[in-house]
């Protein structure tokens, strides 16, 4: 017998999880595969794509991320810069950012207002110089510094459910900072 041929596609899942059933669907709002793998409620997890439009996004203006954006790579693309706000803390959230257009005003990635000083982080420079870091969960943002950060600078963020771990890679000394 052949297997199933398609997933349900809609704006929300149908039904809820049980001991023998894990609802799955394609969210027609963002075209990502989501399921409820545990419990008996409706807590969704996004299945990570290996590529495709759903996993990457070019940002040209400020953006407040949600848990449904987890796993995405964002390309920062406005010379004038803007702020990206991370979602509320939750285990396993991950985000990646690349500078697509070098900023003349900083790009800022900041924690959610409810979880402000929850970030530790380290910056590594291709130039080999000493860079910024926060070795306690006391920071709240990473800045891609205006007129110093360049195309290709990048950062990733991972959440343990309580705090954020940030790693930044920059070309030039001072291209990125971690501040509280």
């Amino acid at each position: 017998m052949s297997g199933i041929r398609s997933l349900y596609r809609g704006t929300a899942l149908k039904g809820y999880a049980s001991t023998i059933s894990a609802p799955i669907y394609v969210d027609s709002d963002d075209n990502r595969v989501k399921l409820v793998p545990a419990g008996s409620g409706t807590t969704e997890v996004v299945l990570q794509e290996a590529g495709g439009a759903g996993v990457a996004e070019v940002l040209t203006a400020a953006r407040v991320l949600t848990a449904a954006d987890s796993g995405k790579t964002f390309f920062l693309a406005l010379a004038g810069g803007f702020t990206v706000t991370l979602p509320a803390v939750a285990m396993g959230l991950t985000f990646k950012f690349f500078v697509q257009i070098a900023p003349t005003t900083a790009y800022i990635v900041i924690t959610h207002a409810d979880n402000r000083d929850t970030m530790a982080g380290q910056i590594y420079a291709s130039a080999g110089s000493d860079e910024d870091s926060e070795t306690a969960f006391t920071a709240d943002q990473i800045d891609f510094v205006a007129n110093t950060s360049v195309i290709g600078d990048s950062a990733d963020f991972t959440c343990d459910g309580t705090n954020w771990y940030a790693r930044g890679w920059t070309n030039a000394a001072g291209g990125m900072t971690v501040t509280g």
Binding site: G15, A38, V46, L47, S70, Y124, T135, Y165
Partner: protein, 182 residues
């Protein structure tokens, strides 16, 4: 109309064939698994989550990982430190570690076996200078160093396996915060 749910149980139902690839949610660890190739029932692949409780885990004691842990992020959270042992070699296995609590005893990530010399890697520091590396597959262990407070919150390591060896990228705050030894 497409399907609305996956089977949820402790083991896969059925086996794969030329025309069928079984898929299910493992009720033990809540991860989506499928048999994508072959005709048996043993080569399960985990479909990676983009977030959620199953993809992250806080470790407070020694742990031996298995292939079923692949794709996870582990947060190292005991000041006294402990050892994490990698699973047997298999292509595509990948793990990420973050120091959640700075160690007063080393955290170590160790290859399985004697341990086996199957690890190469490089360490990058946010400040302080040249770092340790292994440019042949002759190492066995990544150490987040306790001495002199070298290992810090936020230090991290990414490990990837090609089926024969392990590749490590390690990021630390301070020079000497981690080493790769064999």
């Amino acid at each position: 109309m497409g399907i609305r749910s996956l089977l949820r149980r402790a083991v896969v139902a059925g086996s794969s064939s030329a025309a069928v690839a079984p898929i299910y949610v493992d009720a033990d660890d809540n991860r989506v698994k499928a048999i994508l190739a072959g005709s048996g029932s043993t080569t399960e692949v985990i479909l990676q989550e983009a977030g959620g409780a199953a993809v992250g885990e806080v470790l407070t004691a020694a742990r031996t990982l298995t292939a079923a842990d692949t794709g996870k992020v582990f947060f190292l959270a005991l000041a006294g430190g402990f050892a994490v042992t990698l699973p047997a070699l298999a292509a595509g296995l990948n793990f990420r570690f973050f120091v959640q609590i700075a160690p007063t005893g080393d955290y170590t990530i160790v290859t399985p076996g004697a341990p086996d010399q199957t690890l190469a890697g490089q360490i990058y520091a946010s400040s302080g200078g040249d770092e340790d590396s292994e440019t042949a597959f002759t190492a066995t262990t990544i150490n987040f160093i306790a001495a002199a407070g070298a290992g810090k919150i936020g230090d991290s390591a990414d490990l990837t396996c090609d089926g024969t060896n392990w590749y490590a990228r390690v990021y630390v705050d301070t020079a000497g915060g981690a080493t790769i030894t064999g």
